[in-house]
Structure formats: C-alpha cells, structure tokens
C-alpha cells in the first residue's frame, strides 16, 4: 500500500501551491477568479452575446429530476452567477497572459512535487502540453516568439531518453517503460515544436517498422482490421489510430500499406447519434470524434480536381457528414457557451478543442465560415476557466492542469480564427492536412491560428512535412 494518505496528499498540494504563489494568500484571494487589475471593459458585441446566453429559451420544461439534471443545475447556477456579475458590472475577464506564461514556465522548469508521479507514464505528453501551451499564448507583437534554446535542448534530451531501440520499440511514456502510440505521438509533436528534425529523421524508418510490426491490426485481426493498437496487448481505438496516422504523415512514412482498411474501420465508429466512439457501437464522444474526423484528412486520396465540394464528396463516401454536424453543434450549451463531450454531459473546457477543433474541419469540408458560436465559447473560457494562479481549468471549482491548459488555449485559437482550405497552396503533401489557411475573426482578438488537424500552432506541421518530403526527394 502507498504510505501517503489522501490527507497527506492534500496537505502537500496546498503547501506546494502556496509556495508557487510566493506568499500566503488569503482564502478569498485564492478563490477569486481573476486579479482585479486585469479586468477589461466589455465590448458591445460580447455584451449582446452574454445577454442572449443568459436569456432562457421559453421552453416549458417539465419537472423531471435525476442525477443528470441535478449535476447540470449545479453547474448552471455557478456559471449564471459569474455571467450576471459581468453584465451588472460591465467588466469581463481578459486573458491573463502573464500569469499563464508563469504557469507554463514554472511547470516546465520547477521540479514538480511527488504527487505528479501520476504523470510518470506521460513525460512526452507533459512536454507537448506545456511547450505547446506556452507557444500558443498571445505575444505583444502578435507574432510567435521562437522557442528558447534551453527548452529545445531539454526537450531533445528528454525525448531521446524515452526512445526505445532507436524507434524500433516506439517512444515510451517514461524511461525504461515500453513504447506507446500516444506517447510517441505527443513526443513527435514536442520534437516538431522545437524543430528537432534530426532526432525524428534518425528514428523514422524504425518507427515505420514498429507501427507495421507491432501496432497495425491487419486483415487477420477480425473486427479490428484497419485500426492500430497503442502497444502489443494494448487498446485499439480511434485515438490510437489517429496518433499513428499523425506520426506517419508528419514523418512522411504514410504508405498505402499502412493505411489499408483504416478509412473503413473508422467509419464503423460513427454511432446512431452522429458522433464517433472509440470502437464501433460505444457512446459518441468528443475526443474520439475529433480523432476520427481528423484522421480522414490523412486517408482521402490526393486532392484531384480542386473543385468546390470535392473534399465533402470524398469524405461522404465514408461518413454521414450531416449527422456528424448535428451531433457536434449540439455539444454547445446555451447558458454556458462552452462545449460538452457527450449528450447530456457537463461542459468541460478541454472540449474547446476536442469538439471546438471539429468545427474548423467541418467548416473546411462544408465550405462554411462558422458553424458554431465562437464568441460564446470565448466568453466561457475567459470568464470561467482561468485560474488566478495561472493555468486553465475544466470549469469553475476545478483546479488547472497541463492538459486543460493546452486544450483550452487551443480552443481559443479555434474561436478567434476562421479556417479554410487554400486550394492554391503548393505543397508536396498529397492530402488536405497541410493546405489549411486562416483569418482572424473581426474584433479584438489575440490568439494566433493553429493547424486544427494537429493541435499545433499553424506552420509547424507544414514545415516538418516539407522537410521530410524534400529529404525523401533527394
């Protein structure tokens, strides 16, 4: 048994958090949402969106009460109070860039207390979440700042320490662990952020062998044919499949043999609700839906005639786009403005990307500018999901963490930009994933665009892909 009790854990956490603050704050300060100095006057457009969110549609709802309604009412009550406060005072929360930057820095550089051992099988993930989060934060110039040499060096060092057999065993979640598709995915993204193509090039042929030998579920694997597993004896689902496709595409090793059967397998994961599940016939879920739809950007054939509607026509061969659109738009909630991951579940800021990121993809497929309420999502994130100590969180009352910080910030990048396929863009890549372009929405916005297929700031995936295409042409 563990020698530390839950009380010890809590006491340690409090001491650690107080230490980060540098002084002992009062409880009131800890609970207050945002430091007073950074409130900003609310814009008119934001005010009218907020008022609309606060107006309950005249639906004569019955008196049905259950666990679901009780949990929902609890969240609604807290959020309504926050929004009413904004309307009454006329001041809304601005994005606390500096405090979030501090959160990213200290999470990367300060040693983490023992209970962070909960992330001991996620070292690559921590690097991706935090370096990416830091890179997404707004800058004064509006342009991205280069990643510090110190960070690049340490990312390279750490990832190199978890590569198994020069890639023949994939990349592990920590030293001496076994290779894992999701860890490999996160580690590859971290290396791409610091532009360490040398490490990637070194392991690329071996990763291909690992994927084909140990992860791919071939024609003799029955129902799993076309999917990939996380590791031998590990789970196979839309998430592991997406991870493998991202790795293979970025490193330019996505052969027809690798993706054989995959488009068909993923299509079987679309449920009667319209969203996608991890495996066929389980519940439609935000994370899996993102993975499923994004995967198609690697699986469709070469863009051919570049006519309008071509992408839609291609993708419609595999999935029901209208059903998916319907399920996805239903994830946004009237009062909260934020997004949920499943039908009748609560809002959670991480879905600002898992669901939020599905929107740009659908907008590209349907050639529509905006299919959801971007302003309402911004309002939710800015007013409900910032922690006064820095970092972003699921919802009021929850603590921030690395995971939520990254995916919530990615959500802001979705909400503050519109996305489309640039048909004119010349790229050596044979798919749509590297032809994405963006325009900031009108108004006062700060967040730069991402490539929503990868969850990286726009440009990184493109640069990596071009690098390996060029290398392979030689």
């Amino acid at each position: 048994m563990s020698s530390k009790s839950n009380n010890d854990i809590n006491a340690d956490k409090i001491t650690y958090l107080l230490g980060l603050l540098g002084r002992n704050r009062t409880e009131k300060e800890l609970n207050s949402n945002i430091a007073d100095s950074d409130y900003e006057d609310i814009e008119d457009s934001k005010m009218s969106t907020l008022e609309s969110m606060l107006t309950r549609p005249p639906i004569s709802e019955g008196t049905y009460i259950s666990d679901t309604t009780v949990a929902q009412d609890d969240v609604s009550e807290v959020i309504q109070e926050i929004y009413e406060d904004v309307v009454q005072t006329g001041i809304a929360a601005g994005f606390e860039t500096e405090s979030h930057m501090q959160y990213a820095r200290r999470s990367l550089f300060n040693a983490l207390p023992w209970y962070y051992r909960s992330l001991d099988a996620n070292h690559g993930w921590m690097l991706y979440w935090l370096v990416n989060f830091k890179q997404l934060l707004p800058t004064e110039s509006g342009n991205a700042e280069p990643i510090a040499e110190e960070i690049s060096m340490l990312v390279t060092e750490k990832i190199n320490s978890v590569i198994i057999d020069e890639g023949l065993g994939g990349i592990a979640g920590g030293k001496h662990q076994i290779g894992h598709a999701a860890s490999t995915y996160a580690s590859v993204l971290a290396l791409i952020l610091v532009e360490d193509y040398e490490t990637l090039n070194k392991i690329r042929p071996n990763l291909y062998i690992w994927i084909m030998r140990s992860l791919k579920n071939g024609p003799d694997s029955g129902d799993k044919y076309g999917s990939f597993s996380m590791h031998p004896h590990g789970e196979s689902d839309t998430r592991s499949t997406y991870c493998v496709l991202v790795i293979a595409s970025l490193l330019n090793i996505l052969t027809d043999e690798l993706r054989e059967g995959t488009a068909e397998w993923i299509s079987r994961c679309q449920t009667f609700e319209g969203g996608f599940a991890g495996v066929p016939s389980t519940e439609a879920h935000g994370g899996y839906t993102f993975c499923a739809l994004a995967s198609y950007f690697f699986l469709l054939g070469k863009p051919q005639n570049e006519e309008n509607g071509e992408l839609k026509a291609q993708i419609s061969k595999y999935i029901d786009i209208d059903g998916l659109l319907h399920w996805t738009v239903m994830r946004q909630y009237q009062l909260e403005g934020g997004l949920s991951g499943r039908t009748n579940k609560l809002v959670d800021a991480c879905y600002s990307f898992w669901i939020g990121g599905v929107f740009p993809l659908l907008e590209m497929v349907l050639e529509e500018e905006s299919l959801f309420d971007r302003e309402a999502l911004r309002i939710y994130i800015l007013n409900c999901c910032q922690d006064s100590r820095g970092g972003l969180r699921d919802k009021p009352g929850k603590s921030p963490d690395f995971y939520h910080s990254n995916y919530t910030a990615l959500g802001l990048c979705v909400a503050e930009n519109t996305y489309s396929i640039n048909k004119e863009k010349k790229t050596g890549a044979d798919n749509y994933a590297y032809k994405i372009t963006s325009i900031p929405i009108s108004g006062n916005v700060q967040f730069r665009a991402i490539n929503p297929i990868f969850g990286l700031p726009l440009g990184y995936a493109e640069k990596c892909k071009e690098h390996f295409i060029r290398l392979d042409c030689k």
Partner: protein
C-alpha cells in the same frame, strides 16, 4: 511501505531523475524503489512470483502505468496463474480506481485467456454473467463511466448477449433511474440492434418504449436521438413523416406556440423538409434560431440556406 527485502539482488533502474530536465518529478522514495525494481526486472524479463507480487504494489502506486500492466499480463501468461483469482484482484482494484481504463482492457485480456485455455472437457466454462456485479457496482458509483460502458458493450458482443433478458433488464433499470443517461441509451441501442438482425417487432417495441420515455422528460436529447436513430437505421427516409403528430404534442406551433421540447420542434422542421414544405421548414428553423435554440443560430442559418439552395 512495500517490503523489498527479497529484491536485494536487483539494482533499481533510474527513473527520469537527471538534472536539469523539464517537468522533473520529485519521486518519493517508495515510488522510486518499487518502480525502479519493477522496471529492472522487466528489463531482464524476469517472470517470477516475486515480480508478480511487486506489480501489484506498482499498480497501486500508479494505476495508469501501462508498462506495469503489460508486464503483469506477461507474467500471468508465463507462470500459468489462476485466472479467476486474477479477475478477483482486478475487481478490487477497479473499485479503488474509478477513472482508470487500463483495468478494463486488462480484464478483457484475462477473459480471452480463460476462454483460450478452455477445452471441450472444461466443466465450468466462462460465464459472462460473472461480470455483471462488478459492472453494476462501478456504474452505481459513476453512472456514465465511459470505460465501464465500453467494457459492458464488449461483453455483449463477445458473448452474444443481444436481447438477453438480464441485459435488457439491466439497461432498462439504468434508464429508469436516469432517463438522461446517454450511455445507457447507447447501450440499449446496441443490445437491441447491434447484431444487425432486423426484427420488426423489436423495432416497434422500441419506438413505443422511447416515445413513452419522451413523455416523461420531453427536453431530453438522448431519447430523441434514440428515436431518430431507429428511424434512420430501419425506415425509409420519408417514413420520418409518421412522427409529425407525435412531435406536435411537444411543439405546438399552430396555436399558442407551446414548446415543451426544442428537439420536437427540430424534428418537425426536418419532417417539413421531407414533405417538401419549404416555407414551413424555414419558419421552424427560424423559430429555433431566434427563440428556442439561439446558441446554434449559425447552424439553423445553415439549415435554412440548404433548404433555399
């Protein structure tokens, strides 16, 4: 503290301990030694009872450590351990680690192993009902636990429990308890229709059942999705029109605009599209856009545009 005296011959490997490093975790001593020894044993591929026991300590320290799970599985296979004991052990761990999903994948592996070792002489074949109490207990703690429901779905598929009486009773109870539990509705869809056998009686029963549940709580996306899901899977597109009267019970736009369900209103819109009554469909989508579902105004605008196109 775990007793590590029997591992004095093993030098623990170093975890991610070098300095400087990004995201350095200050491991506590117990974690460092238990994981250090486990990963050292793994490196030398030791499949022994002492290693087996230590995997328990490792998993208790960090239930999401997939490498240790994988190691434990390989030990089980090598040492020919009692698999039913393993299921019992797993059960206790599941109860202590609600959110962990490694457990469920592991449990599937163990059950597959049990089945693969059965011969025609095996007296007591694996019975899927063995799994019901643990699943029930887990769902009583967290009624929408995605991993537990996915596991239950696997059981149905693996042991052909489609339309099994106990399975139907189980899911009916879950829906009875909370008609907004979407996981339960999804599972119901699977046990009724997952094997692709089309029985007109089952389809009609389910339509009656879900209609009754809609009466109970009309503003419920789960039950409406179930109803429309059945129509999409088994009926011709135009047959959706049969639901017009039913929808009007919850969305009366002809008289005083009494709306009890935005989902009913939405379906009415769709029905009018099917009937090619474009003005009516546009009127309904406009109501949703402006009054009954304004958060989705962009979507309703898109629907209107599609009709006009």
């Amino acid at each position: 503290m775990t007793d590590l005296s029997q591992f004095s011959d093993i030098t623990p490997v170093q975890l991610n301990q070098e300095e400087p490093q990004l995201c350095q975790i200050l491991y506590d001593d117990e974690y460092k030694s238990v994981m250090g020894i486990l990963l050292a044993l793994l490196a030398k591929k030791e499949y022994s009872d002492r290693a087996f026991e230590l995997t328990q300590a490792g998993i208790e320290l960090l239930a999401s450590h997939y490498t240790i799970w994988n190691y434990r599985y390989n030990i089980i296979v090598h040492l020919d351990k009692n698999l039913y004991d393993e299921l019992d052990w797993c059960e206790q761990l599941a109860l202590d680690n609600e959110k962990n999903y490694q457990i469920w994948n592991y449990r599937q592996l163990i059950i597959e192993l049990i089945i693969s070792r059965e011969t025609s002489d095996t007296v007591k074949k694996f019975n899927a009902y063995h799994e019901f109490p643990i699943v029930d207990e887990m769902l009583s703690q967290d009624s929408k636990n995605h991993h537990v429901w996915s596991y239950r779905k696997w059981l149905v598929e693996r042991f052909k429990l489609y339309r099994d009486e106990r399975e139907i009773e189980f899911v009916a109870k879950r829906i009875e308890y909370d008609v907004k539990n979407n996981s339960a509705w999804t599972h119901r869809f699977f046990i009724k229709f997952g094997d692709e056998q089309v029985d007109q009686n089952v389809i009609n029963e389910e339509i009656d059942y879900v209609k009754q549940k809609i009466q109970e709580a009309p503003q419920n996306a789960s039950s409406w999705n179930y109803l429309i899901g059945i129509y999409q899977k088994f009926k011709k597109p135009d047959e959706l029109i049969d639901l017009e009267e039913f929808c009007q019970e919850f969305a009366n736009i002809n008289e005083e605009n009494v709306i009890k369900s935005s989902y009913a209103l939405e379906l009415l819109g769709k029905i009018n599209v099917k009937k090619n009554n474009k003005p009516k469909a546009i009127e309904i989508y406009s109501l949703l856009k402006d009054i009954y579902d304004p958060i989705r105004k962009n979507y309703w605008t898109y629907q209107i545009k599609e009709i006009e196109a």
